[in-house]
């Protein structure tokens, strides 16, 4: 019975990730798109942990950790490019 709560939470997070995709599509500035991608990355990380609990596959938590690191590196790289015009 308690697993249905996790399934409902994962479905709600997927719906809100699709709603956040609107700002990535029609943001006026590039910083809007970076903020939207950062938000979607956080939601996907939480969803991966919930799916690991739902299908009882413990190794998916490592996937969530790697996905959080990749989202952070993406955000920092694009913000550095927006600020300086080059990466290094």
């Amino acid at each position: 019975m308690i697993i249905h709560l996790f399934i409902a939470t994962a479905i709600s997070l997927a719906t809100m990730a699709f709603a956040s995709l609107y700002r990535a599509y029609s943001g006026p500035t590039p910083a809007d798109r970076v903020v939207s991608i950062n938000v979607i990355s956080t939601k996907i990380t939480v969803m991966i942990v919930l799916i690991a609990l739902i299908i009882k596959q413990d190794s998916f938590v490592d996937v969530a950790l790697v996905y959080a690191m990749m989202g952070f590196i993406t955000t920092v790289s694009v913000a550095k490019y927006l600020e300086k015009g080059k990466l290094f």
Binding site: A8, Y22, T45, L53, A68
Partner: protein, 105 residues
């Protein structure tokens, strides 16, 4: 004892969904880059904390819940850092004073 844990996990999950929903509405509805960032960063960090605490409470204390705690601490460190970097890049790119930027749109 089991029904008590179910109710506590349900309350934590509902709080997480509520804060994620507040962050999404702020991202779509607010008029400026800085206000959108102000809405999403804090609400998403708190919502992720609620949902991960519910997951830890559901699993009990073992190695997997310790890994979930590591993911939670990583998100708590990196999410405000990313927002700070985006805000600094946008603020330097505009080249205007703060009042001119905040009155855009």
């Amino acid at each position: 004892m089991e029904i008590f844990r179910t109710i506590l996990v349900g309350l934590l999950l509902a709080g997480g969904i509520f804060f994620f929903l507040v962050g999404t509405v702020g991202l779509i509805r607010l008029p400026d880059v800085f206000t959108r960032m102000h809405a999403t960063t804090k609400a998403d960090t708190l919502g992720a904390g609620f949902i991960f605490l519910a997951s830890i409470l559901y699993r009990g204390f073992d190695a997997v819940s310790l890994k979930i705690l590591v993911v939670l601490i990583f998100i708590w460190i990196t999410n405000p850092t990313a927002a700070h970097i985006i805000a600094k890049a946008e603020f330097k790119k505009e080249g205007k004073s703060f009042e001119e930027i905040s009155r855009k749109d």
